[in-house]
C-alpha cells in the first residue's frame, strides 16, 4: 500500500546566526495511487518537501510515513521511492539499458534475465525500446525525459517523486508528455508526488493540488475546488491564468466601497461577511461580462486600454472610467466580440461570481456560487 503521510513536517536551514524556515508544519495525506501536484512560486519550499520525502534532506521536525511506517531515519536507498529530476540526471557513461537496469541490480535479487525483461517492458511502455543501446548524449530532450521516467517505472516503487520533470522541454513537447504522464500514472496506479511551479500542470494533471507559499501549506484540494473555492487570496491569485482581479474595498452597511466603485451586496453574501469591514473583492476575468447598454447595480463603465487577441478569446485590460491610466483589471471576452483600445464599454460583475477575502488575513470569507 503506497499511502504517504506528511505530519507536521518542518525544515529549518541554518543561516549565519539565525535560521530560515523553508517548510513550515506541512500536513498532507496521500491515498494509494493518488496523483498529488505540489505547486507554488519558486522558493516556496515545494522542492525541499519533495527532497525530504526522498530522504535527500533531513527532516527538522515532524514525521513522514510511507505505507504507515515512519521513514524519517530510513536512508534514501532503502525507501523504495523513485524520483525523476528536472535535469533528468541520467548516467552519461551508460547506455539507456544500463541506466534503467542500474536501479535493479544491487538492492534486488533479480536474475539477469528478469532484469532484462523488466527493462524491455518499461522501455516498451515509454516508447523507447529502439533507443536501448544509445547513450544519453545521443538523445533529444524529450527522449532523455522518457528514459528518466522509464528508469523510475522499471523499479516499480511505492511512490514516484517528480521534481519539475517537464520544465526543460519546449511547450509542445511539454503538453504532449503531460498527457502521457497522466495516462501512465493512471495505468500504473502508483502514488505520485509531482512538484511544479506551473499552475497549468497543476490544474490539468493532479487528482489533488497542494499549494505552498513561503513554506506554508495554503490548501490541499481538487483542482476545481482550488479554482472555485480558494481557501485564501494567495490560492485565488495563484491558480488561474490570467489571474483573478483583486480590488481593496471597505464594507459600509450593505455596500462595498472601493476607490473607484460602489458594489451593493445582497443578504446571503452579507451573512458570509459577518462583521468584517476591511475586505478584498476578487473576480475572475472570465466572469466579467460585457453588459451592452443595460445598467444595473453591478455594471460599471470602463475604458479599454489594451486588447490581447488569443483567437478563441480576447484578454482585455480595462480601467474604470475615472481611474488614472495604468490602473487596470483584466476581463476575458469571446474572440468574436469586437473590442478595441480606447472604447468605452460597460461591464457587469455578477454578484454570484465574486469572492471576498479578509483584507488583513487574506482568508476567504465568501466564495462564488456554483450551479450544481
Amino acid at each position: 500500500m503506497g499511502t504517504l503521510e506528511l505530519d507536521g513536517v518542518t525544515k529549518v536551514f541554518p543561516d549565519g546566526d539565525g535560521e530560515i524556515v523553508a517548510v513550515d508544519d506541512v500536513d498532507i495525506e496521500m491515498r494509494d495511487g493518488e496523483f498529488l501536484v505540489v505547486v507554488g512560486p519558486s522558493g516556496c519550499g515545494k522542492s525541499t518537501t519533495l527532497r525530504m520525502v526522498a530522504g535527500l534532506e533531513t527532516i527538522s521536525s515532524g514525521e513522514i510515513r510511507l505505507a504507515g511506517q515512519r521513514v524519517n531515519e530510513v536512508k534514501p536507498q532503502h525507501r523504495d521511492i523513485a524520483m525523476v529530476f528536472q535535469s533528468y540526471a541520467l548516467y552519461p557513461h551508460m547506455t539507456v539499458e544500463e541506466n534503467m537496469a542500474f536501479g535493479l541490480e544491487e538492492p534486488t535479487d533479480l536474475s539477469d534475465g528478469e532484469i532484462e525483461t523488466r527493462v524491455a517492458d518499461a522501455a516498451e511502455t515509454m516508447g523507447i525500446a529502439e533507443l536501448l543501446d544509445r547513450k544519453p548524449a545521443d538523445l533529444s530532450g524529450g527522449q532523455r525525459q522518457r528514459v528518466a521516467l522509464g528508469r523510475a517505472i522499471v523499479r516499480d516503487p511505492e511512490v514516484f517523486l517528480m521534481d519539475e520533470p517537464l520544465s526543460n522541454l519546449d511547450a509542445k513537447l511539454r503538453s504532449e508528455l503531460r498527457t502521457e504522464l497522466q495516462r501512465l500514472q493512471d495505468e500504473l496506479d502508483v502514488t505520485t508526488m509531482y512538484v511544479t511551479h506551473d499552475q497549468t500542470e497543476a490544474m490539468t494533471m493532479g487528482d489533488r493540488i497542494a499549494i505552498l507559499n513561503a513554506g506554508e501549506l495554503q490548501q490541499v484540494a481538487t483542482p476545481l475546488e482550488c479554482y472555485h473555492e480558494p481557501a485564501n487570496r494567495f490560492v485565488a491569485g495563484f491558480i488561474g491564468d490570467p489571474s483573478m482581479n483583486f480590488f481593496p474595498v471597505e464594507r459600509d452597511g450593505e455596500t462595498l466601497v472601493g476607490d473607484m466603485f460602489d458594489y451593493p451586496l445582497s443578504g446571503s453574501t452579507l451573512d458570509d461577511v459577518g462583521d468584517v469591514t476591511d475586505l478584498t473583492l476578487g473576480v475572475r476575468p472570465e466572469d466579467i461580462s460585457l453588459a451592452g447598454d443595460s445598467a444595473g447595480d453591478h455594471t460599471f463603465s470602463t475604458v479599454v486600454e489594451v486588447v490581447e487577441p488569443m483567437g478563441d478569446e480576447n484578454t482585455v485590460y480595462l480601467r474604470f472610467a475615472d481611474a488614472p491610466e495604468g490602473e487596470t483589471f483584466i476581463a476575458t471576452v469571446g474572440g468574436l466580440q469586437q473590442v478595441s483600445a480606447g472604447d468605452e464599454i460597460t461591464v457587469e460583475i455578477p454578484e454570484e461570481t465574486i469572492h471576498l477575502f479578509d483584507g488583513t488575513s487574506g482568508e476567504a470569507v465568501h466564495n462564488r456560487e456554483i450551479d450544481e
Binding site: L56, R79, M83, L90, Y91, H93, F102, G103, E106
Partner: protein, 314 residues
C-alpha cells in the same frame, strides 16, 4: 582552427573575384609579423632540444670541433654514447619505474577517494572543512622543509626488519628505499591529487548522484559505478602530473637512497653523476643520458594526451 580557416575563406570571397588577389589581401603586415613571431618562438624552444639531440650522436672531437646545433658529419657520428648511457642508466630506469609507477597510481587513487568523500558524501561541512584545509596547506609545503623530518622519520621505522622475508628471498636490502620512496611520494602527492579531483567532482551533477542513491546504490557502489568511470579525464591529468613529478624528483632520492652505488639507485641519481670525471665533462654522454631519462615522461604524455586535454578543459 577550422573556424579560422572558414573566416579566412569568407574574406577571400569578399575581397575580390580572383583567387590570387584574395591570397595577397590575406597577406597583410599583421599576418607576416605574426608568423615571424611564431617562427621565432618555435626555434627558441626547439634549438636546445635539437642541440642536445645532435650532440648526443657526436664523438668527443665532434663535440669540441663543431657548433652545438650543427649536426654530426661522417667521421664524428657515433651511437656509442647512447649505448654507454643506456648501460649506465638501465638499472636506474627499472628502479625508478619500481617506485614511480606504484606511487603515481596509489596517490591518484587515494586522491580520488578522498575527494569523493569530501564532495559527494553527506558528511557534515564542519567535518569536511578542516580536512580540506589541511590538504590545501599540504599542497604548499616545500620539499626542502620536509627533508630533515623525512630522514628522521624513516630512521625510526624498522623497515629493514619488517621486510626481512624479502631479503631472505635474495633481494638486495637496498630495495627498502624503494618502499620508502613509494610511501613518501604518495603522502606528498596526496594533497594536490585530492584538490585536483575535488574541483572535478564539485562540478559533477548532484542530481545524478542523488538519482543513484535513490536507485538503491550505496556510497561505495556510487563511486565504483558512477564516479570512477566518469573520472577518466581527471585521472589522466593527475597521472601525468604525478608521474612527471615523481620520476624527475631528485631531492627525496638524495635523502632516502643517498648514493648511486646503491642497488636501488633511481635514474635521476645515476644521471646526476653520468659523464663527469676528473678529465672533464662528456657532453655527448650527458645528453644521451638526459634523453633516456626523459623518455618515460614523454611516453606518459603521449599515452594520456587526449584525456589530458579534456581534463584540463574542465
Amino acid at each position: 582552427m577550422s573556424n579560422d580557416a572558414r573566416t579566412d575563406g569568407g574574406t577571400v570571397t569578399e575581397a575580390g573575384p580572383g583567387a590570387s588577389a584574395g591570397l595577397l589581401s590575406g597577406l597583410d603586415a599583421y599576418r607576416v609579423l605574426l608568423y615571424l613571431g611564431l617562427l621565432g618562438m618555435l626555434s627558441f624552444f626547439l634549438i636546445p632540444i635539437e642541440s642536445g639531440l645532435v650532440t648526443s650522436f657526436k664523438t668527443a672531437s665532434g663535440v669540441s670541433g663543431s657548433l652545438p646545433f650543427a649536426p654530426p658529419t661522417g667521421g664524428t657520428f657515433t651511437f656509442e654514447k647512447w649505448r654507454a648511457a643506456f648501460d649506465a642508466l638501465g638499472r636506474g630506469l627499472i628502479n625508478s619505474a619500481l617506485y614511480a609507477i606504484p606511487a603515481t597510481v596509489i596517490s591518484a587513487l587515494l586522491g580520488s577517494f578522498t575527494a569523493y568523500g569530501l564532495t559527494q558524501s553527506n558528511w557534515k561541512q564542519k567535518y569536511k572543512a578542516p580536512v580540506l584545509a589541511l590538504l590545501v596547506a599540504g599542497v604548499f609545503i616545500p620539499y626542502q622543509a620536509v627533508l630533515v623530518p623525512l630522514s628522521q622519520f624513516w630512521s625510526m621505522i624498522p623497515l629493514q626488519e619488517w621486510l626481512g622475508f624479502l631479503w631472505a628471498l635474495g633481494i638486495n636490502n637496498d630495495y627498502a628505499s624503494v618502499i620508502e620512496l613509494i610511501i613518501t611520494h604518495v603522502a606528498y602527492g596526496l594533497p594536490i591529487c585530492t584538490v585536483l579531483f575535488r574541483s572535478y567532482y564539485k562540478n559533477m551533477s548532484d542530481e545524478m548522484i542523488e538519482a543513484a542513491r535513490l536507485d538503491g546504490a550505496s556510497i561505495r557502489r556510487i563511486y565504483r559505478r558512477i564516479v570512477l568511470p566518469l573520472s577518466g579525464p581527471m585521472f589522466a591529468v593527475v597521472l601525468i602530473y604525478q608521474f612527471t613529478q615523481i620520476w624527475n624528483d631528485l631531492l627525496f632520492t638524495l635523502v632516502l637512497v643517498q648514493t648511486e652505488s646503491s642497488a636501488a639507485a633511481p635514474i635521476v641519481l645515476i644521471l646526476a653523476g653520468l659523464g663527469t670525471s676528473l678529465e672533464g665533462q662528456d657532453f655527448a654522454l650527458r645528453m644521451a643520458g638526459a634523453f633516456i631519462a626523459a623518455l618515460p615522461t614523454l611516453a606518459v604524455y603521449i599515452a594520456f594526451g587526449e584525456e589530458f586535454a579534456e581534463g584540463v578543459a574542465t
